[in-house]
């Protein structure tokens, strides 16, 4: 996984609720087999609208999205995360996220930050008041969002996920260190629940 320590830039306000993964990346863009090249298709339906926030010069290169509730709801497509990262997004700040999208973010090094809605509105206001030049900084090591006016807003993040992101840990490698425990569990289970194994034996 890509390491993540901090990101700084102009935060783009996209405060609508329930931005689903279909809206982030259309399914027909995912019939390729790779993880790359999706950035240009991120939000393609919204990008067709001239006043869409990421079309505005001030926000075209924003690495941070200020989002509404339930961001990333819908499908499990990890392509939604790859598309955002491909479009240069490193962090999404929202009051809540879709569960699967949230997990997918951490698998790739895109930081989802949960803040109260009022706080996100305040961040959007500070950015807009600065004519879209005020920068926001997200510091994962210190767990704070530094707003354009210099306020520091702390955020909570799961300890394990934070550590994995800061260090770019590989979950599979970590789990495989527990191979003996997994095999022992399986041996016990095959004795106790033979039916769960025998019926699909090759």
């Amino acid at each position: 996984m890509q390491k993540f320590e901090s990101v700084e830039g102009v935060a783009a306000p996209m405060l609508r609720a329930n931005v689903d993964t279909d809206l982030i990346i259309r399914i027909e863009r995912l019939v390729g087999t790779g993880r790359t090249g999706l950035g240009e298709h991120a939000f393609e339906q919204l990008r067709a609208e001239p006043d869409f926030v990421l079309n505005k010069p001030a926000y075209r290169d924003s690495p941070i999205i200020l989002a509404g509730a339930n961001f990333g709801c819908g499908s499990s497509r990890e392509g939604a995360v790859w598309a955002l990262m491909g479009a240069g997004i490193a962090c999404v700040i929202a009051p809540s996220f879709g569960d699967i999208f949230f997990a997918n973010c951490f698998q790739n090094g895109l930081l989802p930050v949960v803040l109260p809605e009022a706080e996100i509105r305040a961040l959007a206001r500070e950015t807009e008041d600065s004519q879209g030049v005020g920068r926001t900084r997200i510091d994962l090591a210190r767990q704070v969002v530094v707003t354009p006016t210099g306020r520091e807003v702390p955020f909570a993040v799961d300890v394990r996920r934070r550590e994995a992101m800061l260090e770019g840990l590989d979950d599979v490698a970590l789990t495989l260190k527990r191979q003996a425990e997994i095999l022992a569990w399986q041996a016990r289970d095959q004795a106790a629940r033979g039916w769960a194994w025998n019926s699909v034996a090759l």
Binding site: M1, L30, N70, G74, S96, R160, E181, W197, S199, A201
Partner: protein
């Protein structure tokens, strides 16, 4: 201590406590589909790992295959490579594949239960958010992303924080015209699309106990539309009778041992749920969505809501955008809205019972002249069973197209789409902007409601159509 069904399945599957609330959970079954299956198998190999347990992994092409009669994997050129890749990787890794034209092929969440791959009391994952469908069998089944899928294939485990417990009890008898699809749409309308976030949902109550397995699968299918990765129903005699004799169901002494264990899985009296809801079935009418989120739903006798009545400014803006996209007028009755397309299919409502319900409405009638209506069976097996019962003929005689199995118009990933601006009554699960095709307008409803709309040419109350 009184335990819930969820605890009774989750806890024994914990291989190791990873600390800070994290568990290493054993995964008993993995399903793969064409959209991500080949990549997942390839990436595991590229990372230098083997597929830990190919015997526990099952694959089928569904998303990116044409459903045109007589289709092959080449009919939709855009998906041909994905299917070819899945064949190659499955053969290399020893993963069982149910290919086009074979008994077992189908929408991955239709095929899993149908073959007896999904068993009560097991854990199952798939790189697809509607994996929750399989909870209808009494399994903990949930969707994961591509990276997590790679982790499961390589280790047969997943790192996970145990979700909280939520229960929704549906009490009472199903009113006329009301189906499991209406039950879950009504629940989403009431609680919202984020109500289940972070929760595992058990559906219970007398109405759920009375449902067939197919109905329970439909109910669980839309758990993710309520924000919940997993939804399930306690297994019971209905489940066991349905499962017995299926291809990968346990046999003989294993079957007896399994059933004895499965009987122990119901939530204990007094078990605590962090969130507990009750819905009175008498309050539920046949449902139809009007907007671009599954929570934007009304009873078919209702009206298109007015943004002026929205509870807050954000909702008002969302409603306005939805009305605009859907081309609807605030305050107008939803029934009577002219329909261009009807889609009966998807992992929500493409099983044999769904097709029977739709055929019962369509029998002896004609699809309205301006409507294009498709029936897409959920699997090769459903298709064959329906043909053996003559349902295909009922649909054909009424003017519906009878197609091969796959996801088709649910997600429009296979070159088939509802045209821009066209209005479609669909038995699928997502009415998102552009879901059925760019600019397509989707109204979610039950199979009977969809069939009734096809015949009438407008959104119509199934209770007056039958």
């Amino acid at each position: 201590m009184a335990l819930t069904l969820f605890d009774k399945i989750f806890d024994p599957h914990v291989v190791a406590d990873l600390g800070e609330g994290w568990s290493l959970l054993h995964i008993d079954r993995v399903l793969l589909h064409d959209l991500s299956g080949a990549r997942a198998l390839r990436e595991v190999g590229e990372a230098g790992h083997a597929v830990a347990h190919p015997d526990l992994v099952f694959a089928t092409p569904d998303h990116a295959v044409s459903t045109a009669p007589g289709r092959t994997s080449e009919t939709f050129a855009g998906g041909a490579g994905l299917v070819a890749g899945l064949r190659t990787r499955a053969a290399e890794t020893g993963v069982r594949l149910f290919d086009l034209g074979q008994d077992g092929q189908g929408i991955v969440h239709v095929m899993g239960p149908e073959l007896g791959i999904v068993l009560p009391g097991t854990t199952l994952v798939c790189g697809d958010s509607h994996t929750c469908t399989n909870g209808g069998m009494g399994a903990l089944a949930f969707g994961i992303g591509a990276s997590e899928l790679g982790h499961v294939l390589a280790t047969q485990t997943l790192r996970i924080v145990k979700p909280k417990r939520m229960r929704i009890r549906f009490e009472g008898a199903l009113p006329p015209g009301v189906t499991p699809k209406d039950m879950i749409l009504a629940a989403i309308g009431r609680f919202g699309t984020a109500a289940g976030t972070g929760h595992a949902v058990e559906y219970a109550g007398s109405a759920v106990r009375a449902l067939s397995v197919e109905g329970r699968l439909t109910l669980c299918n839309l758990s993710i539309e309520m924000g919940a990765r997993m939804g399930f129903v306690a297994p019971d005699e209905t489940t066991f009778a349905w499962l017995k004799g299926r291809r990968f169901a346990p046999t003989f002494a294993d079957w007896e041992a399994a059933v004895a264990y499965w009987r122990s899985l119901a939530s204990d009296p007094g078990a605590v749920f962090e969130v507990d809801h009750v819905i009175d079935m008498a309050d539920i009418a046949p449902q139809i969505t009007w907007g671009t989120s599954p929570e934007q739903v009304v009873g078919v006798g209702g009206q298109v809501p007015d943004p002026a009545d929205a509870p807050d400014a954000a909702k008002a803006a969302a409603w306005r955008a939805a009305l605009d996209y859907m081309g609807l007028t605030a305050g107008a009755p939803i029934a009577g809205t002219k329909v261009d397309w009807v889609f009966i299919g998807s992992c929500t409502n493409s099983r044999i019972e769904d097709l029977r319900a739709a055929a019962a409405i369509a029998r002896g009638k004609r699809v309205a002249g301006h409507v294009t209506a498709w029936v897409v069976p959920g699997s090769e097996r459903v298709k064959r069973d329906a043909e053996a019962e003559g349902l295909d003929q009922v649909f054909r005689d009424a003017g519906f197209a009878w197609r091969e199995s796959g996801c088709a118009l649910c997600v429009a990933a296979n070159g088939e789409a509802v045209p821009s601006g066209a209005r479609c009554v669909s038995t699928s699960n997502r009415n998102f902007v552009g879901r059925q095709g760019k600019g397509a307008r989707t109204h979610l409803a039950s199979p009977a409601m969809a069939a009734a709309a096809a015949i009438a040419g407008v959104i119509t109350d199934v209770r007056s159509a039958a």
